[in-house]
């Protein structure tokens, strides 16, 4: 028989079997693996792009370069050559005058082409609170002011303000500026003017700190090319979303991790289903193989036929899965259309490849090894039914499966070491559990043999304990499935709860700094009278880092660090602020004299270690303090955060001003204006826009997570179905046998239920233990969310599992109850 004829035979057999329903389960499992991975890979790639897009609103560009000196014209030429759109902005602080009134403002001069991305909402009528979105900045000679600045200066639309040597007419009220960077320490109110007025104003000569920015937009490769070719001075810096909004990127990062974790778990589940169905597929095909051998086929030909069939299945699953995944992710995107940008970028081809290759990997790792014995079936089996081929050793099967999973994990995470580590650890745990369970079941069998049990229960025990190894495998597969479901569902719940908690309805949306000691009590009282939820008022000591261990910052090699180049905002508190965690050292040491606590990541950047002595200059006074603890900070909380915290004795020698954050309900904006007027010296920053942005993103991510949870659930049910279906032939035989012995329907059903109940209880117990361990690990290790053990799950999960197994069992096992005993005994597939 030629290879070609073989392939045709393989195809024909495959087609016939598919028609008879023989392949349905294995194909469904494969398909699900592909659909789950592809949908999630593609969807999260697009979501990622969408988030990036949204995040870029905050950046105002796809990429930004910041410089303290004017942007070199060559950069713009380069950007032109690469086909990138670009524009310039300049921001700095300057005094703005109107009659007697004057106030420090954050000036931003914008060139043509601004805004490039994001929203610029401006109104030119005092009674209009909505305003309109603008596609360009103010004209020459005109200015837009934030309401806060207008209140401080007491100006109206149409008035003139002096900026340097220039008079600008106020023609717009700036309501929203999405790329206003979230640097809380430079939050003077905004005045936006035209780029071409800068020279006339003479402001750039005054020596204040200037921030030139080149805003860029275009395709990724061109941006990357530009980034690679720019030679940056120390005062120049590429800005990306990570820099521009810490809180947002934290939330996104967690969401991303969650999505890929969910995708991976869905694949693991689908793989288990593939393995189970492949195994029972192989068992059902021993006879066919033996028979084909009697027809004259060689071993190698049989191997080839099955391999070809499998490959065909894989290709079909890939194609069908990709099509399904395409529609599914399109449906997801359609569902989310309100929160997603209109023009969603396409997923990169890698995402498609990643998803579809999972079918191949799953088949190779989970199905092929089980089919190996098919070619080894002795043709003598046609005469002696008991001749079953020896399957591959359990460890070989596991090793291959582990290898495949590691491959998948690696594809997903791109981290070899982690993938191998996780798999080895997982393999060890599974092996240990399998051995323990097998042993336990064996012991149990002995124990039960000596006891009188009701018939149905005895039947259930016997079925479960007869093949200890197999039952152990079944329990483990079920337990794994349940565990994954519990973990995924809980992670989802807690992730959302965590986000909710970090952004409660009364999350601070206004920051106040520069509160003087004499007005502190009064300011506090004003906030409390307004009924606004607020943080404590933290004392602030503007300081500079001079030396580390008597080595100047230059000698220490950190003089270029931005943290060294500007005033550090240092506080002094005795209680560890919320969202702070001591990583090393002792917090209590701050009660001693001359101590400081430093934020851990900054300490690492500045090469500062526990026990180091820092020379810090505060308001002209030199302080020498010892680093006694390093803290991590939850930057996503919108409370004031501090890199350095002094011990009280150090603070006592200094004059503080104060800062705090508080929540102003949207309908009380007028009262805020009142507050601004009462405390002209206090600087307020409105962070409501940032909060709304984060909430918008979280909302879309939450929906996505919900949908992905659904996929994981489908995969889990598939495993259950596969496991029960695999046991169907045996059950049919046994049920028929029981019925010939006179057992009624009820008895068989009761026996079945007892068995399923036992299975459910054991696997859900195991799943809960596993889930507790895993959750603790994921929470503390990956997500940084404090972990709480489950409570009511311990009651609910076993119950649900029992009901679920009963339900699926009832549907799948119906033939066992209804098929005539004779028919089953005759059935040659048994």
């Amino acid at each position: 028989m030629s290879r070609w004829a073989e392939l045709r035979l393989a195809l024909r057999l495959l087609w016939r079997e598919a028609r008879s329903g023989e392949l349905t389960l294995i194909v469904t499992a494969l398909l699900l693996a592909v659909v789950a991975t592809t949908t999630i890979a593609v969807f999260s790639a697009r979501l990622d792009a969408a988030m990036q897009y949204r995040a870029n609103d905050v950046l105002g560009a796809d990429m930004r370069v910041r410089s303290a000196t004017p942007i070199p014209p060559e950069w713009q030429q380069q950007a032109d050559a690469l086909g990138l759109q670009h524009t310039r902005t300049l921001s700095f602080a300057s005094v703005v005058l109107h009659d007697e009134a004057m106030n420090l403002a954050a000036i931003k001069a914008v060139d043509e082409g601004y805004p490039m991305r994001g929203r610029l909402r401006v109104t030119d009528r005092a009674d209009d609170e909505q305003g309109t979105l603008r596609q360009q900045g103010p004209q020459s000679g005109e200015a837009w002011l934030e309401p806060r600045l207008m209140a401080l200066l007491g100006v109206q639309l149409g008035d003139e303000v002096e900026v340097g040597r220039l008079a600008l007419r106020i023609v717009g009220v700036l309501l929203e500026e999405s790329d206003r960077s979230g640097n809380f320490y430079s939050f003077n109110p905004r005045l936006m003017m035209n780029w071409h007025d800068i020279a006339a104003s003479g402001l750039t000569e005054a020596g204040s700190r200037l921030n030139y920015r080149l805003l860029l937009q275009g395709n990724d490769t061109a941006l990357q090319q530009l980034q690679n070719s720019l030679v940056l001075e120390p005062n120049q810096q590429i800005e990306t979303i990570q820099d521009s909004n810490q809180a947002l990127s934290n939330a996104l990062e967690k969401a991303r991790q969650y999505l890929s974790l969910a995708a991976l778990l869905a694949v693991v589940l689908a793989s288990v289903a593939v393995a189970i169905s492949a195994q029972s597929y192989a068992q059902r095909h021993y006879d066919i193989s033996a028979l084909m051998r009697t027809f004259g086929l060689a071993q190698a030909q049989i191997t080839r036929i099955y391999t070809e069939q499998l490959l065909i299945l894989a290709v079909l699953a890939m194609v069908a899965g990709a099509v399904l995944a395409f529609s599914l992710q399109a449906a997801l995107i359609w569902l989310l259309q309100d929160v997603l940008p209109k023009q969603l970028p396409h997923a990169p081809w890698q995402a498609w490849l990643l998803g579809t290759s999972s079918a191949g990997i799953t088949l190779l790792g989970f199905a092929l090894p089980h089919l190996y014995p098919l070619a080894r079936v002795s043709p003598l089996r046609v005469l002696r039914r008991d001749l079953t081929p020896v399957p591959l050793q359990g460890w070989v099967l596991s090793a291959v499966a582990m290898l495949a999973l590691t491959g998948l994990l690696w594809l997903f995470t791109g981290d070899v070491v982690m993938s191998v580590g996780v798999m080895l650890g997982g393999a060890l745990v599974l092996l240990l559990l399998l051995t323990l369970l097998t042993f336990g079941i064996g012991r149990w069998r002995q124990r039960l043999q000596q006891r009188d049990l009701p018939l149905t229960r005895r039947f259930a025990w016997q079925r479960l304990t007869r093949n200890g190894r197999q039952t152990a495998g079944q329990i483990l597969a079920l337990a794994l499935t349940l565990m994954i479901m519990v973990v995924i569902a809980n992670l989802r719940h807690d992730l959302l709860a965590d986000w909710q908690a970090s952004l409660p309805d009364d999350a601070p949306n206004v920051f106040a700094v520069n509160i003087q000691p004499y007005e502190k009590a009064q300011f506090e009282q004003s906030l409390d009278e307004a009924g606004w939820a607020r943080q404590t008022l933290y004392p602030v000591y503007p300081s500079r880092l001079i030396a580390v261990n008597e080595r100047t910052v230059e000698e220490h090699g950190i003089s270029e660090d931005p943290a060294v180049n500007r005033d550090l905002i240092i506080t002094s508190v005795t209680e560890l602020p919320k969202g702070n965690r001591v990583e090393s050292g002792r917090w209590q040491a701050l009660q001693e004299a001359g101590q400081v606590s430093v934020e851990a990541r900054l300490a690492q950047r500045l090469n500062i270690a526990l026990g180091d002595t820092l020379h810090i200059r505060s308001a002209g006074q030199d302080q020498y303090v010892t680093v006694s603890s390093l803290r991590s900070i939850d930057w996503s909380s919108l409370s004031p955060n501090f890199y350095f915290i002094f011990s009280p004795d150090v603070a006592a020698t200094l004059h503080p001003n104060y800062m705090t954050s508080f929540h102003v309900p949207s309908e009380q904006q007028a009262q805020l204006t009142q507050l601004i007027r009462s405390y002209p010296g206090v600087t307020l920053l409105d962070t409501q826009a940032i909060i709304e942005q984060i909430q918008g993103v979280l909302q879309q991510v939450t929906l996505a997570i919900e949908l992905i949870l659904l996929l994981v659930l489908i995969a889990a049910v598939l495993v259950l179905v596969a496991a029960l279906l695999a046991s169907l032939p045996g059950r049919l035989r046994e049920g028929a046998m029981l019925r010939t012995l006179g057992a009624g329907r009820t008895l068989i059903q009761q026996a079945q239920r007892s068995e399923l109940t036992l299975l459910a209880l054991m696997s859900s117990g195991l799943a809960l233990i596993g889930a507790e361990l895993m959750m603790a690990g994921v929470y503390q290790g990956v997500l940084n969310i404090p972990y709480q053990p489950f409570g009511w799950h311990w009651l609910v999960l076993p119950l649900i599992t029992v009901l679920l197994l009963w339900g699926i069992g009832r549907v799948l096992m119906r033939p066992v109850l209804t098929v005539s005993p004779l028919h089953v005994l005759r059935d040659n597939r048994s």
Binding site: R293, T294, F295, G296, V382, L383, D827
Partner: protein, 224 residues
Amino acid sequence: MTSSLLIRQLEKTVNSGGQPLTILQGIDLEIKPSDTVAIVGASGSGKSTLLGLMAGLDQPTAGEVHLLGQRIDALSEDERAAVRGQGVSFVFQNFQLLGGLTALENVMLPLEIRGQAKPRQQAQALLQEVGLAARAHHYPNQLSGGEQQRVAIARAFAGAPKILFADEPTGNLDQTTGAQIEDLLFALNEQTGTTLVLVTHDPELAARCQRQVHMTDGRLQEVL
């Protein structure tokens, strides 16, 4: 003309629970083309084992087996498979139809594997022959035991085998049905001139064969 099957001093010993167990010993047998031979004997006497060795499904411990003019006792499994492919077929006690294939497809399968022309038409004709043309598209579990065995017989005669081995072909059937199957088997055998070797403990079936050999405790005796 050479014999269809020639066996010399055949011996089969297996390892059973660590002990060597001799199932067959000193068996000599020659079967001429178109012969019909019945192997009878008590259950457990070694009939099926002998059948398996004769048909090249298993390897003897000692002795020679010549099947269709080729010595097969020293061949590898794949080489024996090739010999089987050239004209050996089987009918089994438990029918051995493939549940995933229809009656027609079951009959087609050996034809397709052997690369014969027009497998569908041939199979259809054979089903007609066994009186099941109308059931061609039914799956085995939709057929009665007798019908299943008729499909199996049609499959066995597909591709005009030179020798057909049957292991208790009526063992799973009631008497009337069994008798019908016997009739069918012998009728087709007459038509095609196939050599027929069948194992049975049904004396009536055995009596319809030209020769009967009796198996007792692994030894063969001609029944005259």
